[in-house]
């Protein structure tokens, strides 16, 4: 996630950065593995829509401990917006069948819209519990502590449910040696649109232009002085003059 991106001739250039799992989705995998430990008999399947290269992200999740992985891939799925992605994810979740809970990341780093979880929930007609910092399952229901602007909200729903998680869920575990071995040998099934019996809807929101932000006027001015009071006075005067208060 420290990859350097820049705008290059209207295209996004990643330089030679490798495709990695979206950091927010690492938290989602962690959240799912915690639930597998808490609820006996449960399994974790990781699901992704993407090109063949997205198998690397799925393998990372397998190495962390997920049981199975599925890639949805089809040449027609190139320019999905979140609504399109949500409808395809909903179709895949229905095809998997018997799913109690789907855990999402808060948002993707690239476009960062954070819309897909709620849209998938609506497409399925399931409840949406967003921005969970804590998840507890209790006899067919789930209670989630949501982290919102104003603090925390505790909310309850019947399963099945869609949940998105934030960092408070806990640090993603490192892949174990055994996990890495298992992941490297895993054959990840690939589902096409035909396999899902789904069709793709044209993207509603499209990019017309890509721009680099205006360069920041740089060069820091270090404030020095004989005493803390003198430094503080000088800095306060500068900030008052800059009209940023």
């Amino acid at each position: 996630s420290e990859a350097k991106v820049k705008a290059e001739g209207g295209q996004i250039s990643w330089g030679d950065a490798p495709l990695v799992i979206n950091p927010f989705d690492e938290y989602a995998v962690e959240g799912a593995l915690q639930q597998r430990e808490a609820v006996s008999g449960s399994t974790v399947t990781v699901l992704c829509i993407g090109p063949e290269s997205a198998k690397e992200a799925l393998k990372h999740a397998l190495a962390m401990g997920a049981d199975d992985a599925i890639l949805v891939s089809d040449p027609a799925l190139k320019d999905l917006d979140t609504l399109g992605a949500a409808r395809i994810l909903a179709a895949a979740i229905n095809k998997i069948g018997g799913v109690d809970m789907v855990i999402f990341g808060r948002q993707t780093l690239d476009s960062g819209s954070g819309l897909t979880p709620a849209q998938t929930a609506r497409a399925l007609g399931w409840s949406m519990l967003g921005l969970a910092g804590q998840i507890k399952v209790d006899s067919g229901s789930v209670i989630v502590e949501r982290v919102i602007e104003e603090g925390r909200q505790s909310i309850n729903a019947k399963l099945p449910a869609i949940i998105s998680v934030v960092q408070s869920i806990g640090e993603p575990r490192y892949p174990s040696f055994m996990g890495i071995r298992k992941a490297s040998k895993a054959e990840i099934p690939v589902w096409s649109l035909a396999d899902l019996g789904a069709s793709v809807q044209e993207a509603i929101v499209t990019r017309s232009e890509l721009m680099s932000p205006p360069a920041r006027e740089s060069a820091v001015e270090i404030i020095t002085g004989e005493s803390p009071t003198e430094i503080a006075d000088k800095l306060a005067d500068k900030l008052i003059a800059e009209k940023v208060l």
Binding site: S1, K6, A7, I12, P23, F24, T82, L83, L109, D110, S111, G112, S113, G114, L115, A118, Q119, R122, S127, M128, L129, L131, G133, I143, E149, E150, G151, R152, Q153, S154, I155, N156, A157, Q167, E202, I204, V205, T206, S208, L210, M211, S212, P213, R216, S218, V220, E221, I222, I223, P228, T229, I231, A232, L235, A236, D237, K238, I240, V244, L245
Partner: protein, 337 residues
């Protein structure tokens, strides 16, 4: 362009970016504000005074708590009946889910975190940051109705016109709930990070004052947290004299010095104050991702090589336990407080 503005609130407290959205909508023509809740007359009055010509009101006990499935059904029914071409929302955790959910019902596009909205006849072009503000994109939407959420502090706040009124139109609340709200633990947030003009943030450095003697009986970890609390007290006093909010780095949050809701950065909040003062924060790339839209950054750090100085306009190389209280005193004198 028939434009509605959704007014977001928590227990009657309106997110200020709602008014910024209303101001933006007014620049396109006459505007209706959407107010959902229970017992929200005060918000209706405020909406008129901030420029709304009409308020579309669903005031119903079922809308006491924000529950996305209920609010979305109410919004979808309203939009289907009235056919606006644009609904603006302030960008908040609630509106992101609300817009997303209702857009599935209406099969319309959602554009989040707009920093500019250019309307030309029927065409709307929206500018928004992507890749954590490393790039900007312009996007357009092909559906007849579109939802746009706007970044806080990206658009001017309209002047309040005391006593201005308008038409209230009641709309029906949908009550098909899937979730139950059990309760809240509301943080003592003071000024919210989203709409703060000034933010003073503390990092791991706030616990680094060996000369402070913690009370007897604390173990090492407890002593560290105790020291950090003294540090955050200084940070809070500076924020308070400037009318600002308190932020934190992830290291400070992970160490248990301060709640996650104060975290700024990639996995915390993205903020856009006029002034951001970073105290004892090294300036990791994930922290900087949260402050790219700050107009000015000031760094106080005892390490002259800390990367935060590269993002800063002014810096002080020194101990925050000395510099921060001196700065608070200086502002008290100069701002006459």
């Amino acid at each position: 362009m028939k434009t509605f503005v959704y007014i977001d609130h928590f227990k009657g407290e309106v997110q200020p970016a709602s008014w910024e959205a209303l101001g933006l909508a007014k620049s396109f023509g006459s505007t209706s504000a959407i107010v959902f809740g229970s017992g929200v007359e005060a918000i209706v009055k405020d909406a008129f005074e901030h420029g709304a010509d009409e308020v579309l009101l669903a005031d119903d006990p079922a809308l006491l708590d924000f529950r996305v499935e209920v609010f979305a059904s109410t919004l979808s029914a309203l939009a289907s009946a009235q056919s606006p071409s644009l609904i603006l929302f302030p960008s908040t955790t609630r509106t992101r889910e609300l817009a997303a959910t209702s857009a599935v019902d209406l099969n319309c596009g959602v554009i989040t975190d707009a920093t500019a909205v250019d309307v030309n006849g029927d065409s709307v072009v929206v500018t928004r940051p992507i890749y954590e503000g490393k790039l900007f994109e312009k996007v357009t939407c092909s559906s007849a109705l579109q939802f746009i959420t706007i970044r806080g502090r990206a658009f001017p706040k309209p002047e309040k016109q005391a006593g201005k009124t308008g038409t209230t139109t009641n709309v029906e609340a949908k009550t098909d709930a899937l979730t139950t709200v059990e309760g809240y633990s509301v943080a003592e947030v003071g000024v919210s990070l989203n709409d703060a003009g000034v933010i003073v943030s503390g990092g791991r450095g706030v616990s680094n004052n060996p000369s402070l003697q913690p009370p007897a009986g604390l173990d090492d970890k407890q002593s560290e947290v105790w020291r950090a609390q003294q540090g955050f007290k200084l940070v809070g006093e500076l924020a308070s004299v400037l009318g600002g909010a308190v932020g934190a780095s992830r290291a400070a949050v992970d160490a248990g010095y301060i709640p996650y809701s104060n975290q700024v950065g990639q996995t915390g909040k993205v903020v856009a104050p006029d002034l951001y003062i970073a105290c004892g924060i090294s300036g990791a790339i994930q922290h900087l991702a949260g402050i790219r839209s700050a107009k000015m950054v000031v760094a106080i750090n005892k390490d002259a090589d800390a990367p935060i100085f590269k993002a800063a306009r002014y810096g002080v190389v020194g101990d925050l336990f000395v510099i921060v209280p001196a700065l608070t005193e200086a502002f008290k004198r100069k701002l006459g407080k």
